[in-house]
């Protein structure tokens, strides 16, 4: 009888202990959801998507309690999503357009811009194409449809097949403004109608790799060794320069641009921490690993 009583007491004691142990573990559990609910939605430029993914993965190690989801779709798509409020950070490979900014202001927000990396646009051809270099003027004429055979720029007698990203790509808009129009905002010329508009960077690389007639352009981070990168000169008298971290940093490569992240208000909390970390040396190290050029 007595034994049973002791036994009961023991059980009670143990269960109490268990309770207190549970209580002790509950406290951090309860605080964790509040910080792990820190969830950052990041979307936009396909140029940046791989870099953003690499950042998000590394940030997971720095701050395991913050979850970041990264998707591509194009700069326009990201900024439209920022406007609709479905993302916290939009990636863009071009600056925000005045009309996109106006749409944000209509809803009482203000676009805040962060320059997160620099990118060079490489002009690429098939490795079997003997052409090694082009001037900006020649590239512009090719894409406007004024030069239609490789012979006219020192190559073989082959038709030129022009490749471009779709119009929702920031790279497309940048290329239109800075290369086809040569930075001249009064110039209203556009891509030749027979320019192939491919939905992805990979599509461009694949077609250039296989097709000796093709010319394409893409962010330096996407260029694989299977295609040939052309040297580019701003005018015929200047030296031809190939894109690299060094030539982009010293400004000698003609087609390079800044890459941006946008928020729709002054960032706070976890979003601010993340953006601060992106500009830290650790994150900028990843920028160079991914084939882009650090901003610091």
């Amino acid at each position: 009888m007595k034994k049973a009583l002791y036994g009961l007491l023991l059980v009670l004691l143990l269960s109490l202990l268990g309770c207190s142990a549970n209580a002790a573990t509950i406290t951090p559990d309860q605080t964790q959801p509040s910080s792990s609910s820190a969830y950052i939605e990041n979307k936009g430029s396909d140029t940046i998507v791989n870099l953003a993914l690499a950042w998000a993965e590394r940030y997971q190690q720095v701050r395991p309690d913050v979850r970041i989801s990264v998707t591509g779709g194009g700069s326009g798509t990201g900024l439209a999503a920022l406007n609709n409020g479905t993302v916290d950070i939009a990636n863009a490979s071009r600056t925000i357009k005045p009309e996109e900014e106006a749409l944000l202001e209509e809803q009482g927000y203000k676009a805040i811009q962060f320059t997160i990396a620099r990118d060079a646009i490489a002009v690429i051809v098939n490795p079997n194409n003997p052409v090694q270099q082009l001037t900006l003027q020649q590239i512009s004429q090719i894409y406007k449809g004024e030069i239609n055979n490789w012979q006219e720029v020192g190559g073989e007698d082959r038709p030129i097949v022009r490749l471009s990203r779709e119009t929702n790509s920031g790279t497309h808009v940048y290329f239109l403004e800075e290369v086809i129009r040569l930075g001249n905002s009064d110039d209203k010329s556009i891509f030749s109608a027979d320019t192939l508009l491919l939905p992805s960077s990979e599509g461009i690389i694949a077609e250039v790799r296989d097709n000796p007639n093709a010319i394409g352009y893409d962010g330096l981070g996407y260029v694989t060794p299977e295609v040939k990168v052309l040297g580019i000169a701003p005018d015929p008298t200047s030296p031809y320069v190939k894109p690299s971290v060094a030539t982009v940093t010293d400004g000698s490569y003609a087609i390079s641009r800044d890459l941006y992240m946008y928020t729709r208000q002054e960032p706070a909390g976890e979003i601010k921490n993340y953006l601060d970390w992106i500009l830290s040396p650790e994150a900028q190290q990843i920028v160079s690993e991914m084939g882009f050029v650090p901003v610091q």
């Binding site: 779709g73 194009g74 326009g76 798509t77 439209a80 406007n83 609709n84 009309e99 996109e100 749409l103 082959r158 038709p159 030129i160 097949v161 779709e166 119009t167 929702n168 808009v173 209203k188 556009i190 891509f191 109608a193 027979d194 320019t195 192939l196 508009l197 491919l198 939905p199 599509g203 694949a206 077609e207 296989d210 097709n211 007639n213 093709a214």
Partner: protein, 299 residues
């Protein structure tokens, strides 16, 4: 014997079927209204000459839908030329000629073919078909209307085969027997009796196939090059092309809600809707007319 419970469940089932029928009418009407609401403002924002211009470059306000319209038509015609004879031939073979064990193998194979996702077809197109076309036909690029037509023809064949085969199967055996009993050959029976008797089902099959082709998006976006070139004659097959569906798919994600570009994309959607409506109406007219003539012959 009719019990009360049977009557009740019968009524319930009738009501449910009725509801399903009405719902589909309702949905079509709602879709049409939505397309009209979002698409019609275009007519105020873009003037007609620019809307039917020859250049599509929406980010600089070139809204010529003509190249897209003709692009879709080109691919559809090409796919139709490939898919209709092959699909009907396969259906006739499976239903009328093949021995039963071949039939049992072929039918599920064709159905598996129908299940291939269009994005997979697109990959095959990019990696195999386009380079092959470029080299073998000596084209500047393999990403052409022809590549799209071939792949879409391939995608439409299973639809045509399975519907046409069902139609041929439902022809009463007495028709064939009567024909054969008159001393007519097997081939003449197929061509002169079975196929005409199944005509309305075969036309439905063709129209469903064409409908699948005109609405297909992913494959054409991947293999046709998406260059909004105005097709000129037969040579358009060897050149890149941009279809209406690929345009909507690749640009809808980017446009700002309510902008002119957005409205134009919906107008293109409306045009696509009218296209499939027209196909269905034509199919309906053709098949009903045939039935009447048969009835006249039989009477």
């Amino acid at each position: 014997m009719i019990t009360k419970r049977n009557v009740f469940s019968e009524k319930l089932i009738t009501r449910l079927i009725q509801l399903a029928g009405y719902l589909s009418i309702l949905f079509i009407t709602l879709i049409l209204l939505f397309l009209l609401r979002e698409g019609v403002p275009t007519l105020k924002e873009v003037n007609f000459s620019s809307l039917f211009g020859s250049r599509w470059y929406p980010i600089e306000s070139y809204f010529g839908i003509w190249p897209l319209l003709l692009g879709s038509i080109t691919v559809t015609i090409g796919a139709g030329i490939i898919a209709v004879p092959l699909g009907m031939g396969t259906a006739v073979f499976i239903s009328e000629i093949a021995p039963s064990w071949v039939k049992e193998v072929l039918k599920p194979m064709v159905e598996i073919l129908a299940g291939i996702p269009s994005v997979v077809l697109g990959f095959v197109g990019i990696l195999v078909l386009a380079p092959f076309l470029r080299v073998s036909l000596n084209l500047p690029t393999g990403l052409t209307a022809l590549a799209g037509a071939l792949l879409l023809g391939w995608a439409a064949i299973p639809t045509i085969v399975s519907v046409a085969e069902d139609a041929l199967n439902s022809v009463p055996p007495s028709y064939r027997e009567a024909s054969l009993a008159l001393g007519v050959s097997h081939w003449q029976t197929i061509w002169g009796v079975t196929v005409p008797a199944a005509r309305s089902g075969i036309i439905t099959a063709v129209m469903l196939g064409v409908g699948r082709v005109i609405g297909e998006t992913m494959t054409v976006m991947m293999v046709t090059g998406n260059a909004p070139v105005l097709p000129k004659g037969f040579s358009a097959f060897w050149a890149p092309i941009r279809t209406m569906t690929a345009t909507i798919a690749s640009e809808m994600g980017e446009v700002a809600n309510g902008s002119t570009h957005y409205h134009v994309l919906f107008l293109i959607g409306l045009v696509l809707f009218l296209f499939s409506l027209a196909i269905n109406v034509v199919a309906f007219i053709v098949s009903t007319r045939r039935i009447k003539r048969q009835e006249r012959l039989l009477s």
